[in-house]
Subunit: 229 residues, 2 copies
């Protein structure tokens, strides 16, 4: 039964994957387009939704096909439907985002896929379509969430130093934080567990390694808080 | 240029409009379907996106056509794309929501439209399609927002009592609040201005009427806070 015969917009999904590398640098996965439009330009991975797959399934499929990344937790970001965002045709896209750790490979994140590459947030090239706007929306979402939810569980290694956690906050918030205040605030939340271990192979005085208290993390994520720093 | 010839999902928009009435009851606008599927059942207003209109324009057009409501500020809620959500065809819907005051008619909100009616949140009938799920998502969003953003500007009359504001919080949070704590907390935020007036035509002792401090309201909305009550 096909009761709606008017012309339909095309429907796509796009996936913004943020990854934190060994230097605590926040990066985003981009692919280089090998066909028009925007041939040769970098873009957020994504593609058309098939008639028989859910939006999430389409997003995961495109991500795997285009970047080798799979088995990530995707959160829906926003749906973009400006009339002229795709020169081929009227196209509406549902954007998703994911956070991953690039060191421990908690997920499979191949960068061997042809034309797929991690870009630091500070070095994003001009993107195809309205992907600059989509990426900006994703960064704004991260920046908003960090205020009322804990962040870092998916991005950081299992054990991390307070400096590494602070660097993540500074990167997302895009401004430096006072070290003493940050530590006081984050420790008072009882979100972290002292692992009893210290950093290995550093020339400076080895810092303590912490882990997230998973149940406390989930509880704070559920109930929210206000991280004013 | 039409380079994508695979079958496309149909694309619709749906609008959840919350309205607060004179008794401070939170209601939602529903329409009764006069054609199959789900003929005779109540549903969230909405309809198909035309090829030449943005998602927001489609949402506003459908809302006006089906309910007489226009000139409201719509916020995007979420996009729903389960495979079987529409028995006619694979249909993806972008849901929006709006908050309005039903007393002062800050916006035009006709309830004369055929088969359109305001339902208290406590008396929502079984809805068509997956609209129960969409409405639940909208209520959860409101409940989430109230924790870290001020609420009430669009919903309450220009001047209101602290009891009326408290009732709104209780309705959205779905549990009673301690009167003394609520007042202390809300007044400490410097969000409210004493209008110098009191309620008219009440048999009990007339309560003070407050207004929102618009610039403080916007500032708190932008920066967020944590309203722990």
């Amino acid at each position: 039964m096909h009761t709606y015969e008017y012309p339909r917009p095309a429907l796509t999904v796009d996936c913004i994957v943020f990854g934190l590398d060994a230097q605590q640098e926040l990066k985003v996965m981009l692919i280089q387009r090998d066909i028009p439009p925007f041939q040769g330009q970098w873009a957020i991975p994504g593609g058309f939704v098939r008639i028989d797959e859910t939006l999430e399934a389409a997003a995961l499929r495109e991500l795997r096909e285009e970047t080798g990344i799979y088995d990530v937790y995707l959160e829906q970001l926003y749906t973009f439907g400006d009339l002229a965002r795709d020169p081929r045709d009227r196209t509406v896209t549902v954007a998703y985002y994911a956070l991953i750790n690039l060191v421990e490979q908690k997920i499979k994140a191949s960068t061997d896929a042809r034309d797929a590459s991690w870009f630091p947030l500070s070095k994003i090239p001009k993107l195809a379509f309205d992907h600059d706007k989509i990426l900006k929306t994703a960064i704004a979402r991260l920046r908003g969430k960090i205020r009322y939810e804990p962040i870092g569980f998916e991005l950081l290694a299992t054990k991390f130093t307070l400096s590494q956690l602070q660097k993540l906050y500074e990167t997302v918030l895009d401004h430096p934080l006072d070290k003493r205040n940050f530590r006081k605030k984050i420790l008072s939340m009882e979100l972290l567990i002292d692992s009893g271990e210290v950093e290995q192979g550093v020339s400076h005085r080895a810092a303590k390694l912490y882990q997230f208290d998973e149940s406390k993390y989930l509880q704070l994520k559920q109930n929210g808080f206000n991280f004013e720093i």
